[in-house]
Assembly symmetry: C2
Homo-oligomer: 239 residues x 2
Amino acid sequence: MSEIARKAVILLSGGLDSATALAMASAAGFECFALSFRYGQRHSVELDCAQRLAKAMGAREHHIVDFDLRHFGGSALTSDVEVPKGRTMDDMDYMSADIPITYVPARNTVFLSFGLAWAEVLESFDIFIGVNALDYSGYPDCRPEYIAAFQTMANLATRSGVEGRGALTIHTPLIELTKGEIIGKGVDLGVDYAMTSSCYDPDPHGRPCGQCDSCLLRKKGFAEAGLPDPLYVKFGMGE
Amino acid sequence: MSEIARKAVILLSGGLDSATALAMASAAGFECFALSFRYGQRHSVELDCAQRLAKAMGAREHHIVDFDLRHFGGSALTSDVEVPKGRTMDDMDYMSADIPITYVPARNTVFLSFGLAWAEVLESFDIFIGVNALDYSGYPDCRPEYIAAFQTMANLATRSGVEGRGALTIHTPLIELTKGEIIGKGVDLGVDYAMTSSCYDPDPHGRPCGQCDSCLLRKKGFAEAGLPDPLYVKFGMGE
Protein backbone atom coordinates (compact mmCIF):
# COMPACT_ATOMS: atom_id res chain seq x y z
CA MET A 1 0.00 0.00 0.00
CA SER A 2 1.37 3.40 -0.88
CA GLU A 3 1.34 6.06 1.78
CA ILE A 4 -1.06 8.95 1.28
CA ALA A 5 0.96 11.99 0.26
CA ARG A 6 0.92 14.95 2.62
CA LYS A 7 -0.58 18.07 1.14
CA ALA A 8 1.45 21.23 0.81
CA VAL A 9 0.53 24.73 -0.34
CA ILE A 10 3.19 26.24 -2.62
CA LEU A 11 3.28 29.97 -3.27
CA LEU A 12 3.93 30.10 -7.00
CA SER A 13 4.66 33.47 -8.59
CA GLY A 14 5.72 32.04 -11.92
CA GLY A 15 9.31 33.11 -11.33
CA LEU A 16 12.45 31.06 -11.16
CA ASP A 17 12.56 30.71 -7.38
CA SER A 18 8.99 29.58 -6.78
CA ALA A 19 9.15 27.12 -9.69
CA THR A 20 12.18 25.59 -8.00
CA ALA A 21 10.39 25.52 -4.64
CA LEU A 22 7.49 23.68 -6.29
CA ALA A 23 9.90 21.13 -7.78
CA MET A 24 11.52 20.60 -4.40
CA ALA A 25 8.19 20.15 -2.60
CA SER A 26 7.11 17.68 -5.23
CA ALA A 27 10.41 15.78 -5.04
CA ALA A 28 9.98 15.61 -1.26
CA GLY A 29 6.76 13.68 -1.85
CA PHE A 30 4.16 16.36 -1.14
CA GLU A 31 0.91 16.60 -3.03
CA CYS A 32 1.18 20.19 -4.22
CA PHE A 33 -1.51 22.89 -4.18
CA ALA A 34 -0.14 25.92 -6.01
CA LEU A 35 -1.27 29.43 -5.07
CA SER A 36 -0.71 32.59 -7.09
CA PHE A 37 -1.82 36.19 -6.75
CA ARG A 38 -3.04 38.83 -9.16
CA TYR A 39 -2.35 41.86 -7.01
CA GLY A 40 -1.97 44.64 -9.53
CA GLN A 41 1.60 43.77 -10.49
CA ARG A 42 2.69 45.26 -13.79
CA HIS A 43 4.47 42.05 -14.67
CA SER A 44 1.30 39.94 -14.76
CA VAL A 45 2.83 37.80 -17.52
CA GLU A 46 4.23 35.77 -14.62
CA LEU A 47 0.70 34.50 -13.90
CA ASP A 48 0.54 32.83 -17.31
CA CYS A 49 3.84 31.22 -16.42
CA ALA A 50 2.46 30.12 -13.03
CA GLN A 51 -0.51 28.44 -14.72
CA ARG A 52 1.67 26.58 -17.20
CA LEU A 53 4.17 25.60 -14.52
CA ALA A 54 1.49 24.30 -12.14
CA LYS A 55 0.11 22.12 -14.89
CA ALA A 56 3.46 20.94 -16.27
CA MET A 57 4.80 20.17 -12.80
CA GLY A 58 1.80 18.15 -11.69
CA ALA A 59 0.24 20.41 -9.04
CA ARG A 60 -3.01 18.88 -7.84
CA GLU A 61 -4.77 22.29 -7.90
CA HIS A 62 -3.86 25.84 -8.77
CA HIS A 63 -5.67 28.92 -7.48
CA ILE A 64 -5.11 32.53 -8.37
CA VAL A 65 -6.37 34.94 -5.71
CA ASP A 66 -7.28 38.40 -6.99
CA PHE A 67 -6.92 41.60 -5.04
CA ASP A 68 -5.43 44.98 -5.71
CA LEU A 69 -2.47 46.28 -3.76
CA ARG A 70 -2.41 49.35 -6.03
CA HIS A 71 -4.99 51.00 -3.76
CA PHE A 72 -2.26 51.38 -1.22
CA GLY A 73 0.58 52.36 -3.57
CA GLY A 74 4.10 52.40 -2.23
CA SER A 75 6.03 50.22 -4.70
CA ALA A 76 7.48 50.45 -8.17
CA LEU A 77 5.94 47.05 -8.90
CA THR A 78 2.36 48.20 -8.37
CA SER A 79 2.34 51.97 -8.79
CA ASP A 80 3.48 54.42 -11.40
CA VAL A 81 6.99 54.74 -10.05
CA GLU A 82 9.46 53.59 -12.70
CA VAL A 83 11.17 50.22 -12.31
CA PRO A 84 14.89 50.97 -12.00
CA LYS A 85 16.89 49.71 -14.96
CA GLY A 86 20.35 49.71 -16.36
CA ARG A 87 22.24 49.13 -13.14
CA THR A 88 25.27 46.94 -13.53
CA MET A 89 25.95 43.64 -11.82
CA ASP A 90 28.18 45.50 -9.36
CA ASP A 91 25.21 47.62 -8.35
CA MET A 92 23.65 44.45 -6.99
CA ASP A 93 25.53 45.18 -3.78
CA TYR A 94 23.09 48.04 -3.34
CA MET A 95 20.34 45.50 -2.87
CA SER A 96 21.79 44.24 0.36
CA ALA A 97 22.30 47.68 1.84
CA ASP A 98 18.93 49.30 1.18
CA ILE A 99 15.35 48.28 0.72
CA PRO A 100 14.71 48.36 -3.04
CA ILE A 101 11.94 50.51 -4.52
CA THR A 102 10.50 47.30 -5.95
CA TYR A 103 9.71 46.10 -2.41
CA VAL A 104 5.92 45.72 -2.09
CA PRO A 105 4.72 46.58 1.44
CA ALA A 106 3.87 43.48 3.44
CA ARG A 107 3.54 41.41 0.27
CA ASN A 108 4.89 38.15 1.61
CA THR A 109 2.77 38.56 4.75
CA VAL A 110 -0.37 38.93 2.64
CA PHE A 111 0.64 36.00 0.41
CA LEU A 112 1.50 33.71 3.32
CA SER A 113 -1.77 34.63 5.04
CA PHE A 114 -3.76 33.42 2.05
CA GLY A 115 -1.54 30.35 1.97
CA LEU A 116 -2.39 29.78 5.60
CA ALA A 117 -6.13 30.10 4.90
CA TRP A 118 -5.97 27.51 2.15
CA ALA A 119 -3.72 25.20 4.15
CA GLU A 120 -6.20 25.27 7.00
CA VAL A 121 -9.09 24.32 4.73
CA LEU A 122 -7.01 21.55 3.10
CA GLU A 123 -5.83 20.33 6.50
CA SER A 124 -2.31 20.81 5.27
CA PHE A 125 0.51 21.65 7.65
CA ASP A 126 3.12 22.62 5.10
CA ILE A 127 3.53 25.86 3.15
CA PHE A 128 6.43 26.42 0.74
CA ILE A 129 7.69 29.87 -0.19
CA GLY A 130 10.68 30.49 -2.43
CA VAL A 131 12.18 33.40 -0.50
CA ASN A 132 15.87 33.91 -0.63
CA ALA A 133 17.86 35.81 1.97
CA LEU A 134 21.13 36.05 0.09
CA ASP A 135 20.32 37.80 -3.15
CA TYR A 136 17.40 39.74 -1.71
CA SER A 137 18.52 40.63 1.77
CA GLY A 138 17.11 44.11 1.20
CA TYR A 139 13.54 42.80 1.48
CA PRO A 140 12.54 42.61 5.14
CA ASP A 141 10.06 39.83 4.49
CA CYS A 142 12.65 37.48 2.99
CA ARG A 143 14.68 37.12 6.20
CA PRO A 144 14.78 33.89 8.22
CA GLU A 145 13.73 35.68 11.43
CA TYR A 146 10.64 37.01 9.67
CA ILE A 147 9.69 33.54 8.42
CA ALA A 148 10.18 32.07 11.90
CA ALA A 149 7.92 34.74 13.41
CA PHE A 150 5.26 34.10 10.76
CA GLN A 151 5.32 30.41 11.55
CA THR A 152 4.90 31.07 15.28
CA MET A 153 1.97 33.38 14.58
CA ALA A 154 0.42 30.91 12.13
CA ASN A 155 0.43 28.15 14.70
CA LEU A 156 -1.55 30.38 17.06
CA ALA A 157 -3.88 31.69 14.34
CA THR A 158 -5.53 28.50 13.31
CA ARG A 159 -7.85 25.76 14.36
CA SER A 160 -5.04 23.20 14.32
CA GLY A 161 -2.95 25.34 16.65
CA VAL A 162 -5.77 25.49 19.17
CA GLU A 163 -6.62 21.84 18.88
CA GLY A 164 -2.99 20.72 18.84
CA ARG A 165 -3.60 18.75 15.64
CA GLY A 166 -0.25 19.45 14.08
CA ALA A 167 2.35 22.14 13.86
CA LEU A 168 2.39 24.12 10.65
CA THR A 169 5.76 24.56 8.97
CA ILE A 170 6.73 27.36 6.59
CA HIS A 171 9.30 25.74 4.31
CA THR A 172 11.92 27.99 2.74
CA PRO A 173 14.14 25.54 0.87
CA LEU A 174 15.92 28.32 -1.05
CA ILE A 175 16.55 30.74 1.76
CA GLU A 176 20.28 30.12 2.10
CA LEU A 177 21.05 29.32 -1.55
CA THR A 178 22.66 31.58 -4.12
CA LYS A 179 20.79 32.12 -7.39
CA GLY A 180 23.30 29.84 -9.09
CA GLU A 181 22.67 27.06 -6.57
CA ILE A 182 18.90 27.45 -6.95
CA ILE A 183 19.20 27.04 -10.71
CA GLY A 184 21.45 24.01 -10.25
CA LYS A 185 18.88 22.34 -7.97
CA GLY A 186 16.03 23.13 -10.36
CA VAL A 187 17.86 21.79 -13.40
CA ASP A 188 18.59 18.57 -11.49
CA LEU A 189 14.87 18.27 -10.74
CA GLY A 190 13.88 18.92 -14.36
CA VAL A 191 12.49 22.46 -14.04
CA ASP A 192 12.11 24.08 -17.44
CA TYR A 193 13.22 27.64 -16.73
CA ALA A 194 12.03 28.74 -20.19
CA MET A 195 8.57 28.53 -18.62
CA THR A 196 9.42 31.01 -15.85
CA SER A 197 9.41 34.80 -15.84
CA SER A 198 11.59 36.90 -13.57
CA CYS A 199 11.46 40.34 -15.23
CA TYR A 200 9.73 43.23 -13.43
CA ASP A 201 8.80 44.83 -16.74
CA PRO A 202 8.48 42.25 -19.52
CA ASP A 203 6.77 42.92 -22.85
CA PRO A 204 3.29 41.40 -23.38
CA HIS A 205 4.84 38.25 -24.86
CA GLY A 206 6.94 37.68 -21.75
CA ARG A 207 10.22 38.83 -23.27
CA PRO A 208 12.36 40.08 -20.39
CA CYS A 209 13.74 43.63 -20.41
CA GLY A 210 17.16 42.30 -19.45
CA GLN A 211 17.92 45.42 -17.45
CA CYS A 212 15.86 45.48 -14.26
CA ASP A 213 17.31 44.20 -10.99
CA SER A 214 15.46 40.93 -11.30
CA CYS A 215 16.80 40.31 -14.81
CA LEU A 216 20.29 41.13 -13.59
CA LEU A 217 20.01 38.70 -10.70
CA ARG A 218 18.78 35.99 -13.03
CA LYS A 219 21.68 36.59 -15.42
CA LYS A 220 24.11 36.45 -12.52
CA GLY A 221 22.52 33.16 -11.41
CA PHE A 222 22.81 31.45 -14.79
CA ALA A 223 26.39 32.74 -15.07
CA GLU A 224 27.20 31.24 -11.66
CA ALA A 225 25.55 27.96 -12.63
CA GLY A 226 27.53 27.96 -15.88
CA LEU A 227 24.38 27.43 -17.91
CA PRO A 228 22.59 29.33 -20.67
CA ASP A 229 19.19 30.77 -19.70
CA PRO A 230 16.60 28.82 -21.74
CA LEU A 231 14.27 31.86 -21.61
CA TYR A 232 16.85 33.90 -23.49
CA VAL A 233 17.38 31.04 -25.90
CA LYS A 234 13.60 30.88 -26.47
CA PHE A 235 13.45 34.58 -27.32
CA GLY A 236 16.67 34.47 -29.33
CA MET A 237 18.23 37.01 -26.99
CA GLY A 238 21.93 37.28 -26.17
CA GLU A 239 22.98 36.70 -22.58
CA MET B 1 0.52 74.83 17.49
CA SER B 2 -1.51 71.69 17.41
CA GLU B 3 0.31 68.40 17.32
CA ILE B 4 0.02 66.41 14.11
CA ALA B 5 -2.28 63.46 14.75
CA ARG B 6 -0.72 60.02 14.44
CA LYS B 7 -2.26 57.89 11.75
CA ALA B 8 -3.93 54.60 12.59
CA VAL B 9 -5.43 51.88 10.39
CA ILE B 10 -8.73 50.59 11.78
CA LEU B 11 -10.18 47.29 10.60
CA LEU B 12 -13.85 48.14 10.18
CA SER B 13 -16.28 45.32 9.45
CA GLY B 14 -19.39 47.41 9.98
CA GLY B 15 -20.26 45.47 13.11
CA LEU B 16 -20.70 46.64 16.65
CA ASP B 17 -17.17 45.81 17.84
CA SER B 18 -15.21 47.44 15.05
CA ALA B 19 -17.40 50.58 15.17
CA THR B 20 -16.51 50.85 18.85
CA ALA B 21 -12.82 50.30 18.11
CA LEU B 22 -12.99 53.13 15.56
CA ALA B 23 -14.60 55.43 18.13
CA MET B 24 -11.90 54.56 20.67
CA ALA B 25 -9.05 55.17 18.21
CA SER B 26 -10.58 58.47 17.26
CA ALA B 27 -11.10 59.46 20.91
CA ALA B 28 -7.44 58.59 21.55
CA GLY B 29 -6.50 61.27 19.01
CA PHE B 30 -5.56 59.12 16.02
CA GLU B 31 -6.27 60.17 12.46
CA CYS B 32 -8.23 57.13 11.33
CA PHE B 33 -7.90 55.18 8.07
CA ALA B 34 -10.67 52.60 7.94
CA LEU B 35 -10.20 49.31 6.11
CA SER B 36 -12.94 46.85 5.15
CA PHE B 37 -13.03 43.62 3.15
CA ARG B 38 -15.41 42.16 0.61
CA TYR B 39 -14.32 38.55 0.92
CA GLY B 40 -17.36 36.63 -0.21
CA GLN B 41 -19.24 36.95 3.08
CA ARG B 42 -22.95 36.30 2.79
CA HIS B 43 -23.66 39.18 5.16
CA SER B 44 -22.24 41.85 2.82
CA VAL B 45 -24.80 44.33 4.14
CA GLU B 46 -22.17 45.05 6.77
CA LEU B 47 -20.06 46.77 4.10
CA ASP B 48 -22.78 49.40 3.56
CA CYS B 49 -22.70 49.90 7.32
CA ALA B 50 -18.91 50.23 7.24
CA GLN B 51 -19.10 52.92 4.58
CA ARG B 52 -21.69 54.93 6.49
CA LEU B 53 -19.84 54.49 9.77
CA ALA B 54 -16.49 55.58 8.32
CA LYS B 55 -18.10 58.74 6.98
CA ALA B 56 -20.20 59.52 10.05
CA MET B 57 -17.30 58.91 12.42
CA GLY B 58 -14.84 61.10 10.53
CA ALA B 59 -12.39 58.54 9.15
CA ARG B 60 -9.88 60.31 6.92
CA GLU B 61 -10.10 57.55 4.29
CA HIS B 62 -11.97 54.30 3.83
CA HIS B 63 -10.85 51.45 1.60
CA ILE B 64 -12.64 48.22 0.79
CA VAL B 65 -10.29 45.47 -0.38
CA ASP B 66 -11.91 42.83 -2.59
CA PHE B 67 -10.95 39.19 -2.68
CA ASP B 68 -12.79 35.93 -2.49
CA LEU B 69 -12.26 33.48 0.35
CA ARG B 70 -15.03 31.30 -1.08
CA HIS B 71 -12.45 29.65 -3.34
CA PHE B 72 -11.09 27.95 -0.29
CA GLY B 73 -14.40 27.12 1.42
CA GLY B 74 -14.35 25.96 5.00
CA SER B 75 -16.79 28.31 6.76
CA ALA B 76 -20.51 28.80 7.12
CA LEU B 77 -19.92 32.52 6.53
CA THR B 78 -18.51 32.06 3.04
CA SER B 79 -19.71 28.69 1.78
CA ASP B 80 -23.03 26.95 1.41
CA VAL B 81 -23.03 25.49 4.90
CA GLU B 82 -26.03 26.79 6.82
CA VAL B 83 -25.50 29.43 9.51
CA PRO B 84 -26.61 27.84 12.79
CA LYS B 85 -29.72 29.47 14.24
CA GLY B 86 -32.14 29.13 17.05
CA ARG B 87 -29.71 28.30 19.82
CA THR B 88 -30.57 29.84 23.13
CA MET B 89 -28.49 32.24 25.18
CA ASP B 90 -27.37 29.33 27.34
CA ASP B 91 -25.92 27.67 24.25
CA MET B 92 -23.46 30.54 24.12
CA ASP B 93 -21.27 28.52 26.48
CA TYR B 94 -20.73 26.24 23.52
CA MET B 95 -18.81 29.01 21.85
CA SER B 96 -16.01 28.91 24.36
CA ALA B 97 -15.57 25.16 24.16
CA ASP B 98 -15.46 24.59 20.40
CA ILE B 99 -14.49 26.45 17.29
CA PRO B 100 -17.75 27.66 15.72
CA ILE B 101 -18.64 26.70 12.16
CA THR B 102 -18.78 30.42 11.40
CA TYR B 103 -15.02 30.66 11.95
CA VAL B 104 -13.38 31.71 8.67
CA PRO B 105 -9.94 30.13 8.23
CA ALA B 106 -7.13 32.61 8.90
CA ARG B 107 -9.49 35.55 8.37
CA ASN B 108 -7.98 37.90 10.92
CA THR B 109 -4.49 37.04 9.68
CA VAL B 110 -5.47 37.99 6.13
CA PHE B 111 -7.23 41.17 7.35
CA LEU B 112 -4.34 42.24 9.57
CA SER B 113 -1.88 41.58 6.75
CA PHE B 114 -3.70 44.02 4.50
CA GLY B 115 -3.85 46.43 7.43
CA LEU B 116 -0.09 46.06 7.77
CA ALA B 117 0.42 46.77 4.06
CA TRP B 118 -1.60 49.97 4.25
CA ALA B 119 -0.01 51.04 7.52
CA GLU B 120 3.41 50.67 5.98
CA VAL B 121 2.49 52.84 3.01
CA LEU B 122 0.89 55.46 5.30
CA GLU B 123 3.90 55.34 7.64
CA SER B 124 1.49 54.49 10.41
CA PHE B 125 2.57 52.38 13.37
CA ASP B 126 -0.84 51.68 14.82
CA ILE B 127 -3.47 49.16 13.73
CA PHE B 128 -6.76 48.73 15.60
CA ILE B 129 -8.79 45.52 15.49
CA GLY B 130 -11.97 44.96 17.47
CA VAL B 131 -11.33 41.36 18.50
CA ASN B 132 -12.79 40.11 21.70
CA ALA B 133 -11.47 37.17 23.65
CA LEU B 134 -14.35 36.79 26.11
CA ASP B 135 -17.42 36.32 23.98
CA TYR B 136 -15.54 34.69 21.12
CA SER B 137 -12.92 32.57 22.78
CA GLY B 138 -13.73 29.81 20.29
CA TYR B 139 -12.01 31.74 17.48
CA PRO B 140 -8.26 31.03 17.55
CA ASP B 141 -7.43 34.36 15.93
CA CYS B 142 -9.17 36.42 18.61
CA ARG B 143 -6.82 35.37 21.42
CA PRO B 144 -4.28 37.75 23.01
CA GLU B 145 -1.38 35.36 22.36
CA TYR B 146 -2.25 35.32 18.66
CA ILE B 147 -2.34 39.12 18.48
CA ALA B 148 1.02 39.36 20.30
CA ALA B 149 2.57 36.92 17.82
CA PHE B 150 1.16 38.86 14.87
CA GLN B 151 2.68 42.06 16.23
CA THR B 152 6.10 40.42 16.61
CA MET B 153 5.90 39.10 13.06
CA ALA B 154 4.71 42.47 11.72
CA ASN B 155 7.66 44.26 13.23
CA LEU B 156 10.00 41.92 11.37
CA ALA B 157 8.00 42.02 8.13
CA THR B 158 8.28 45.65 7.29
CA ARG B 159 10.61 48.38 6.27
CA SER B 160 10.21 50.18 9.58
CA GLY B 161 11.19 47.05 11.47
CA VAL B 162 14.41 46.76 9.49
CA GLU B 163 15.21 50.44 9.71
CA GLY B 164 14.24 50.71 13.37
CA ARG B 165 11.92 53.61 12.59
CA GLY B 166 9.22 52.70 15.05
CA ALA B 167 7.56 49.70 16.54
CA LEU B 168 4.18 48.80 15.16
CA THR B 169 1.42 48.16 17.69
CA ILE B 170 -1.69 46.05 17.13
CA HIS B 171 -4.29 47.68 19.38
CA THR B 172 -7.09 45.49 20.70
CA PRO B 173 -9.03 47.85 22.98
CA LEU B 174 -11.98 45.45 23.29
CA ILE B 175 -10.11 42.24 23.89
CA GLU B 176 -10.91 41.90 27.59
CA LEU B 177 -14.34 43.56 27.57
CA THR B 178 -17.74 41.89 27.70
CA LYS B 179 -20.22 42.75 24.97
CA GLY B 180 -22.12 44.84 27.52
CA GLU B 181 -19.00 46.81 28.42
CA ILE B 182 -18.18 47.37 24.73
CA ILE B 183 -21.64 48.79 24.15
CA GLY B 184 -21.31 50.99 27.25
CA LYS B 185 -18.00 52.42 25.98
CA GLY B 186 -19.42 53.01 22.52
CA VAL B 187 -22.53 54.77 23.79
CA ASP B 188 -20.32 57.04 25.91
CA LEU B 189 -18.34 57.90 22.78
CA GLY B 190 -21.47 58.58 20.74
CA VAL B 191 -21.47 55.49 18.50
CA ASP B 192 -24.83 55.09 16.76
CA TYR B 193 -25.33 51.33 16.91
CA ALA B 194 -28.34 51.59 14.60
CA MET B 195 -25.70 52.06 11.88
CA THR B 196 -23.99 48.74 12.65
CA SER B 197 -24.79 45.21 11.51
CA SER B 198 -23.90 42.09 13.48
CA CYS B 199 -26.11 39.43 11.92
CA TYR B 200 -24.52 36.57 9.95
CA ASP B 201 -27.60 36.26 7.75
CA PRO B 202 -29.50 39.57 7.50
CA ASP B 203 -32.12 40.32 4.87
CA PRO B 204 -31.11 42.62 1.99
CA HIS B 205 -32.33 45.67 3.94
CA GLY B 206 -30.04 44.82 6.86
CA ARG B 207 -32.78 43.49 9.13
CA PRO B 208 -31.11 41.01 11.49
CA CYS B 209 -32.35 37.43 11.71
CA GLY B 210 -32.32 37.63 15.51
CA GLN B 211 -31.40 33.96 15.77
CA CYS B 212 -27.81 33.40 14.70
CA ASP B 213 -25.01 33.30 17.28
CA SER B 214 -23.96 36.83 16.46
CA CYS B 215 -27.51 38.18 16.95
CA LEU B 216 -27.72 36.30 20.25
CA LEU B 217 -24.42 37.77 21.47
CA ARG B 218 -25.57 41.24 20.50
CA LYS B 219 -28.86 40.78 22.38
CA LYS B 220 -26.96 39.52 25.40
CA GLY B 221 -24.72 42.60 25.22
CA PHE B 222 -27.55 45.13 25.11
CA ALA B 223 -29.27 43.24 27.93
CA GLU B 224 -26.08 43.45 30.01
CA ALA B 225 -25.71 47.14 29.22
CA GLY B 226 -29.35 47.67 30.18
CA LEU B 227 -30.05 49.46 26.91
CA PRO B 228 -32.40 48.91 23.99
CA ASP B 229 -30.69 48.00 20.69
CA PRO B 230 -31.29 50.98 18.37
CA LEU B 231 -31.05 48.63 15.36
CA TYR B 232 -34.08 46.71 16.63
CA VAL B 233 -35.85 50.00 17.34
CA LYS B 234 -35.10 51.14 13.77
CA PHE B 235 -36.63 47.97 12.31
CA GLY B 236 -39.53 47.97 14.78
CA MET B 237 -38.42 44.57 16.06
CA GLY B 238 -38.96 43.24 19.59
CA GLU B 239 -35.87 42.52 21.67
